[in-house]
């Protein structure tokens, strides 16, 4: 309290040494270790997991720092994914490719549902720049509307969680119900090229994997920038004592809305990359169940740790794939147990375990290597 604010800013480097090491480790694993160890199929799978970790990253900001638990991140993941899929689908359904349909030039599922003209909201998605813009802007706008409406009326906590969950349910029902416009329960499938570039080959999957990794690192750095800025500190302060922040004259609602929008944009980027990497999008990534599963990724990794969220996502998904391949029945027990265990015993996830058990030992080691003062450390014996 007695320190001048300027000195804290000086003592606040962009990342601490340990965080630089974590970043280097993550980059090494994503860009070197995994591509060397895994075959094309497995690498594509990891690419899919990486797209989920964007959502987990957003949740760290929104839930870990901001204290706003959204159970509707699938909505934004889905929005990003669907917007991207719309562009890809239009490109795949050129007049030439769809000449056996009764109306050539429109997506096949529209033709099956007796729609004879491209609906107005599909039309702009013939343009790639528009699509890329929409992937960011539409979810952000959507989150802004929800956030403003809720946070201005001081709706928070469990109420917010339930309402975001309801929104996820609504969007799923809407997508499944409006088959002719959205592809229904099957989603948008049979995607082929991105601006003429075939996305179905192993080589394309590989390149997309690296794009994914690059974007993820960029998002981590941006999140880190937000975390250490004044804004990030206000977010944390707000989480811990909302009233005090409000009485200090801050517009609490705007900060919360910002965190929610940022999380939405991260999720949408993940969704768009998911569509590219996996080659389809369906309502099963939008609803309540995937939305809550995405929360557990962040919870397992550590809701306060940006790197933890990525590790958590990779780990949970790896476990899911392994278990559901060999013991499909055990997986739900495992996932359910994981939810309970993390919440009861390790509320800060893997990052929390690392911080309480591993880091003190590491720093002790480092201290031991330094020319130690003559007085022995009192805890060294333990």
């Amino acid at each position: 309290m007695t320190r001048a604010p300027s000195s804290t800013v000086h003592d606040n480097p962009f990342m601490k040494p340990m965080e630089w090491i974590s970043l280097a480790l993550l980059v090494a694993v994503i860009f070197l270790v995994l591509p060397m160890l895994l075959d094309a199929f497995r690498l594509n799978l990891v690419g899919k997991y990486l797209t989920y970790s964007f959502v987990a990253l957003g949740l760290v900001i929104c839930w870990g720092f901001g204290g706003i638990l959204s159970l509707g991140q699938g909505v934004f993941f889905g929005l990003g994914g669907y917007l991207m899929a719309m562009y890809l689908k239009l490109e795949a359904s050129s007049v030439e490719n769809t000449k056996i349909q009764s109306t050539p030039g429109i997506p096949d599922f529209m033709d099956w549902n007796q729609i004879t003209e491209l609906p107005w909201f599909w039309k702009p998605f013939t343009s790639l720049p528009f699509t890329l813009l929409a992937v960011i802007v539409v979810p952000a706008f959507f989150a802004f509307v929800i956030g403003t409406a809720m946070f201005r009326r001081r709706v928070g906590g469990t109420y917010f969680a339930i309402i975001t969950q309801a929104i996820a349910a609504i969007l799923t029902i809407l997508i499944v119900g409006q088959q002719g416009y959205t592809g229904g329960i099957n989603g948008i499938t049979d995607l082929r090229t991105l601006h003429g570039w075939d996305i179905r080959t192993d080589r394309a999957h590989n390149i997309l994997y690296f794009v994914n990794g690059g974007l993820l690192v960029a998002c981590i750095l941006f999140a880190q920038y937000v975390k250490r800025s004044k804004l990030g500190r206000i977010l944390v302060a707000m989480r811990d004592k909302e009233d005090r922040v409000r009485f200090s004259g801050y517009q609490v609602a705007s900060f919360k809305t910002f965190a929610f929008c940022l999380a939405a944009v991260f999720a949408a980027i993940g969704g768009a990359m998911f569509t590219l990497q996996v080659g389809f999008m369906s309502p099963s990534f939008v609803g309540i169940v995937p939305s809550i599963e995405m929360v557990i990724y962040a919870a397992v990794g550590g809701r306060l740790s940006l790197f933890g969220a990525v590790w958590g996502t990779l780990l949970v998904n790896w476990a899911k794939t392994t278990f559901s391949e060999s013991f499909p029945e055990l997986w739900l027990f495992g996932l359910g147990g994981l939810f309970i265990l993390v919440v009861l015993a390790f509320p800060n996830g893997l990052a929390g375990i690392y911080r309480t058990y591993v880091e003190p030992r590491l720093t002790r080691r480092v201290k031991a290597l330094e020319p130690a003062p003559a007085v022995a450390l009192p805890h060294a014996a333990e």
Binding site: M150, I163, I173, I288, F333, F339
Partner: protein, 308 residues
């Protein structure tokens, strides 16, 4: 949209759809009652509520099988036994869960949400392992089958009336328990001011556990009643959970009257719209309306002044 129907047709449609809505209302009310008690009392979001309901439904299914093979003479009355059993089973499991899980998390309401979600996954898989992945239905006793012909165009199914009667009884019972008994007075005291209630000698932990058990037990009865109008599968509970939460939030937490009013308005809107539009559109419009109203009036329809 209304042009093709004559006036008498329309009025019978409204009566029939209204009645279908009433059955939906009954199931919603029973489910939401338990949830409202738990949410209102402890601020705990129980995501596994649907699974407690399904436990009740499976209990009824087991009972129906048992009575059919071993006690066919008593079969017409098995339903009452099943309902009591459903209440006891769900209530006991609820109290166990409160003791093992929930009581450690009272200070972290968002975390209870995640933990109970985990519990719901485990229960779902347990049901799938024990009862198989397929939906099961119960054999109704003969006196519950059929319908009452009111006029030429209006007929009302008996099992629906029975479900409504049960709902009425349970609701009245809960209202009596909450507003006329010593236990109810304790519960309300704890809701209004927990430390003070503890200070005057109420065992708040015990009240919490009993309340949680009561809420889960009522969910069990809801599941038992549900078997009469639909079949039960391991994931049936999840279908209703969002609607039920919305009902509780929309009604205003901690208000029994609000819960009933919101269950009524939501189920009636949905079933009336369902007739004119497709089922999914009706659901979307109903949910959107509820979310929209909640954005304008986040405290819900009825509120209870609570000192925190």
């Amino acid at each position: 949209m209304l042009g093709d129907y004559s006036l008498t047709d329309l009025s019978s449609i409204f009566v029939m759809q209204g009645f279908a809505g009433l059955i939906l209302f009954s199931v919603y009310t029973l489910m939401a009652l338990g949830l409202a008690i738990i949410f209102g009392q402890m601020g705990v979001i129980n995501m596994a509520h649907g699974e407690f309901m399904i436990l009740g439904a499976y209990m009824t299914y087991l009972c129906s099988g048992f009575f059919q093979t071993h006690l066919p003479a008593l079969f017409p009355a098995y339903f009452f036994v099943a309902m009591a059993l459903a209440f006891v089973a769900s209530g006991a499991l609820g109290m166990l869960v409160e003791w093992a899980l929930i009581r450690h998390l009272y200070k972290r309401p968002l975390d209870t949400l995640l933990a109970t979600w985990g519990l719901s996954l485990i229960l779902q898989q347990a049901y799938r392992t024990i009862f198989g992945p397929r939906e099961v239905g119960v054999e109704l006793p003969s006196w519950l089958i059929g319908s009452v012909q009111v006029t030429d165009t209006i007929e009302i199914p008996i099992n629906g009336m029975f479900v409504m009667a049960i709902t009425l009884l349970i609701t009245a019972g809960v209202a009596l328990l909450m507003y006329r008994s010593r236990f109810g007075a304790q519960v309300r005291a704890v809701v209004q001011n927990r430390p003070m209630a503890g200070a005057v000698g109420i065992d708040t932990e015990k009240v919490d556990r009993l309340t949680f058990g009561l809420g889960c037990g009522i969910a069990g009865i809801a599941g038992s009643a549900f078997t009469m109008v639909g079949s039960t599968g391991p994931t049936s509970g999840q279908l209703y959970i969002v609607d039920t939460f919305l009902i509780v939030v929309f009604g205003g937490a901690a208000s029994l009257l609000g819960t009933i009013a919101s269950a009524f308005s939501i189920s009636q809107t949905q079933s009336t719209l369902e007739f004119f539009l497709s089922g999914s559109t009706a659901k979307v419009i109903t949910l959107l309306a509820v979310v929209g109203i909640l954005m304008l009036r986040p405290q819900g329809l009825f509120t209870l002044k609570v000192r925190r």
